[in-house]
Point group: C2
Chain length 179, copies 2
Amino acid sequence: MKKFEEKTLHTEAIFNGRIISLQVDDVSLPNGATAKREIVKHPGAVAVIPITDDGKIIMVEQYRKALERSIIEVPAGKLEPGEEPIVTARRELEEETGYGCETLTYIQSFATSPGFANEIIHMYAASGLYKIEHPVAGDDDEFVELLYVTIEEAEAMVQSQAIYDAKTAFAVIWAKMQK
Amino acid sequence: MKKFEEKTLHTEAIFNGRIISLQVDDVSLPNGATAKREIVKHPGAVAVIPITDDGKIIMVEQYRKALERSIIEVPAGKLEPGEEPIVTARRELEEETGYGCETLTYIQSFATSPGFANEIIHMYAASGLYKIEHPVAGDDDEFVELLYVTIEEAEAMVQSQAIYDAKTAFAVIWAKMQK
């Protein structure tokens, strides 16, 4: 889909970090004018909606420096280079929650901030959950706490802004629709 | 909510652009170790789910340079400095669609990419839509095309990835729940 395509005239690399990079593109617009586009590149990520047999969603609370607060989210994590999203999903579920799952179902993919970033999140639902005895450890700079949340509790947490995250807002309303 | 707080030891400003800025923070972790956090600052945004009297969602197709493709989204736009989100919502609805609305209802707010950005989107639903005779024009580097989409069409567009955007994925499932 190339409607209203903006052709790149010049790319200036600004920053190349551990997780993201930043560039500024000069582009030509459909009307012939030019504009600048500030673009963050990100490797992409998965998010998993883990649903227990009794209908609770397993979520993780973690501190998000960008927001200067902790928020409650469904388990998620970045794609490693060349990694299939469904492999990332299984890995992140295990690392962040200690659970494995019998069924991992793809829901959909979406860009989180298409105005300035190319990050895509691939959403999965996990069911048939079971505790893994010795789960793989997560990143050593990640501190998370598990919560088991009913749909009703999740809706209250959206109201109180304890849940304050797009993928998790999607997850809550998606899980509600499945009931 | 300060659980697992990461205290800032040092902030390095990398880039200060027209829309976003970028900084790298050195932080101290709960276990006393240190880590680097790459953080994009964004002014925040609104998104509006405009529902026509016959139950269609008005969406806009536009080119997103970060994704190198056009996608179909609910109307959205950045907060101007000091602007109340509900004012931005009414303005963006008019600029992008040419519609005003009798009722603008706050739904919820969420961070789009809490792992690396502080962008918050405030979601609204608009109903009682009416055409504005001489609508305020949008940004002169924005080219958009309007679509009137039923819920069933929207779901097919999610499957085909014509809809490929977190706030719009939320909007589709939210609108479906209201039926």
